[in-house]
C-alpha cells in the first residue's frame, strides 16, 4: 500500500485482481496510466465500459460476439455440420489462430468438475443436445483439454448424445511436435506408447 493516493491505490488493486498480475506489475501499469496524458486512463475506461455494456454471447455457439450471432456462425463459407465443442472462448480463439478449421464451434462455458461444484447443468449442454437433435451435424469434434475434468465432460457428453451413431472425434493426444521425449511427462509418454498409431500416418497426409 502506498500512502500517496487512495485513487492510485484503487487502480493498483484493480490491476492486481487480474490473473497473473502481482502487486509490483499492477503498480507499474497503474503508474503508466497515471503519468502523462489523462486521456489514456479515460479511453481505457471507455473501452472497458463498452466491454461491460456491448459484448454479447452468440445465440448459436455461445462465443463472444458484437451481435446476436458471431462472425463465425454467420459466415456462409463455414460448414455448420462439423461441430467443434470447446470449453471456452479462449479455445475458439486458439483454434481460429491455426486457420485450418472451417466448421462451427460450440462453447460449453466450462467443464464438469464436481470438486468445484460444477455439474452438467451449469454448462451449455442442453443447448448443445438441442442442436444435435436438429440432426444436421455430421461430426462432433471434442476439442477439450486432456485433464480429469475434460475427460469427465467428454465422457458425459458422449454417454448422453441424442444420436449414439453420431461420429465423435477428439483431439489427438501424444508427445508434442518438436519436443524431446526425455522431457515429456511420464503420463504422456506412457499413454503415447500404449496408444501408438500405425506408421506411416496416412489420415492427415503426413505419412
Amino acid at each position: 500500500m502506498n500512502q500517496l493516493s487512495r485513487v492510485l491505490e484503487d487502480a493498483v488493486d484493480a490491476f492486481s485482481s487480474l490473473p497473473g498480475i502481482g502487486r509490483k506489475t499492477a503498480m507499474r501499469l497503474a503508474l503508466h496510466l497515471a503519468q502523462g496524458d489523462r486521456e489514456r486512463p479515460s479511453a481505457f475506461a471507455q473501452t472497458l465500459l463498452r466491454l461491460a455494456r456491448d459484448l454479447k454471447t452468440c445465440r448459436n455457439c455461445y462465443a463472444f460476439s458484437d451481435s446476436d450471432f458471431c462472425a463465425i456462425c454467420s459466415n456462409p463459407g463455414r460448414d455448420p455440420s462439423l461441430l467443434c465443442v470447446v470449453e471456452s472462448v479462449r479455445d475458439v480463439i486458439a483454434i481460429e489462430e491455426i486457420q485450418s478449421f472451417k466448421g462451427h464451434y460450440f462453447v460449453l462455458g466450462g467443464l464438469i468438475s464436481p470438486l468445484d461444484g460444477i455439474g452438467p447443468e451449469q454448462l451449455n449442454l442442453s443447448a448443445l443436445f438441442d442442436k444435435l437433435r436438429g440432426g444436421n451435424i455430421r461430426e462432433l469434434i471434442l476439442a477439450i483439454r486432456p485433464t480429469i475434468e475434460g475427460d469427465t465432460t467428454a465422457y458425459y457428453l458422449h454417454r448422453n448424445l441424442p444420436d449414439p451413431n453420431l461420429p465423435v472425434t477428439m483431439l489427438a493426444r501424444g508427445v508434442s511436435w518438436g519436443s524431446e521425449l526425455e522431457f515429456a511427462d511420464e503420463l504422456t509418454l506412457s499413454r503415447s506408447l500404449s496408444n501408438r498409431t500405425p506408421y506411416p500416418l496416412t489420415s492427415n497426409g503426413r505419412g
Copy 2:
C-alpha cells in the same frame, strides 16, 4: 486479431498498450473481465475514470496525491530539511517501502536525455531551485539511477544549485548486497574497485 468481437478486440488492444503486456496476456486479461459478472469490467472502468479525473499532483513535491499536498508532505513527523530528489513517483514508492527515510521527496518528472529531446526545461527543476532558494534544506540527496541520463541530470543539478555550499549526497553505488561478484557486470565491478571504501564501514553502523 480475433474475428469474434470488435468490443473484445478493443479491450485486448487497450491491455496490450500497457508496458510489458503482450497480445496473449492482453487476451487473457480481457477475457477474464469479459467472462462472468459484467460488474467487473464496469467497476474496473470506474476506477480508471477516477484515476483520470481525481488524481492530483502534490504542489510541494510533484508526487501523486488525492489532495493539493500529498500524505508525505503534510505529515508533521517528517523532516522537510532532508530533501530526496527522484526521477518519478515510482522511486518515491520504492524508497517508502524500505520504511527508513523520514525526509521529504522531490519528483523531477524525468531525467535529462538529449537523445530523447528531454532538456532541463522539461523537468520540474525551476520549482526545485525555488525550493532550495527558500533556504530550509540541510541536505539534498540525489536518489537518481546510475545511468548516463541519471548522471547527466545529477551533474546539471549540482552545477546549477542556488547555494553551492549546500551538502549534496547521492545513493551509494557498488556491488549489490547478496550478489556474487562473478555475476556483477564489468562496469559495476571495476567502479566498485576504484571507488573502494575504508573497512570496516562506520558511517552506517555496519562496521
